[in-house]
Symmetry: C2
Subunit: 136 residues, 2 copies
């Protein structure tokens, strides 16, 4: 992976799970993670699109899990936040005149994909419920 979004997403989902259906505001969530509420709302927006979370607008609004924590695998969370490949990223623009440079991105990508597959298999074994349980 590449970014702190995974940590934020998992933190959010854990808080929501612990709240057992009670609506939590982005202000409150941001306070626990200690980041800006707008970032929280952005991440919630992504989690919503992935079906993990539902939110209610307006006064007394907030967010809650949309599905049971048992149904959310950590692989699904990983997947929701990832945008780049695992071990690095292709801002690489190697020299196409070099036999190695010419093909390296292809081979790096194969390697990244293979490796990521293994990582996802691993994350598929754990659910949000497993993770959240640790806080009880």
């Amino acid at each position: 992976m590449n970014n702190g979004r995974f940590a934020i997403a998992l933190h959010l989902l854990t808080l929501l799970d612990q709240a057992k259906g009670e609506l939590l505001s982005s202000e409150y969530l941001a306070g626990s993670i200690n980041i800006n509420p707008v970032l929280v709302r952005k991440e919630l927006s992504s989690l919503r699109k992935h079906g993990f979370v539902q939110s209610k607008e307006g006064k007394n609004g907030g967010s809650t899990l949309a599905v049971s924590a048992k149904e959310i695998t950590l692989a699904a969370v990983y997947n929701s936040v990832k945008q780049l490949s695992l071990l690095g990223h292709q801002k690489n623009t190697p020299n196409p005149k070099c036999p190695v440079g010419k093909d390296i991105n292809k081979h790096l990508n194969n390697l990244y994909n293979d490796t990521e597959k293994i990582l996802i298999d691993q994350l598929n074994k754990k659910t949000l419920a497993d993770f959240s349980q640790q806080f009880e």
Copy 2:
């Protein structure tokens, strides 16, 4: 992982392997990767400290592999460039007054470590020789 250093390191090592003992200059290496020679020299410095590479100073100097490509696992390369944990990083300073915030870093770290172990197992199965062979 987190950075493009893995790609740079592997690219360098592949070039050195393909050169079959001939000394390559940082200028030449940088040309293939299409990055700054100083970055190359820094990465070579790290690879040297890890025993993968040796360099010769002065005129007609350059770098070459210090050990056979078969003895360099991709896990060892990964290890040489990693500085942060796999899935994110602890610039997190969650709210210690929140029961989740209080312990999340510990649990995230456990998760990262477990996951990274799997990733390293996977990378241990492949050597630089395997990777480099693809360019022939």
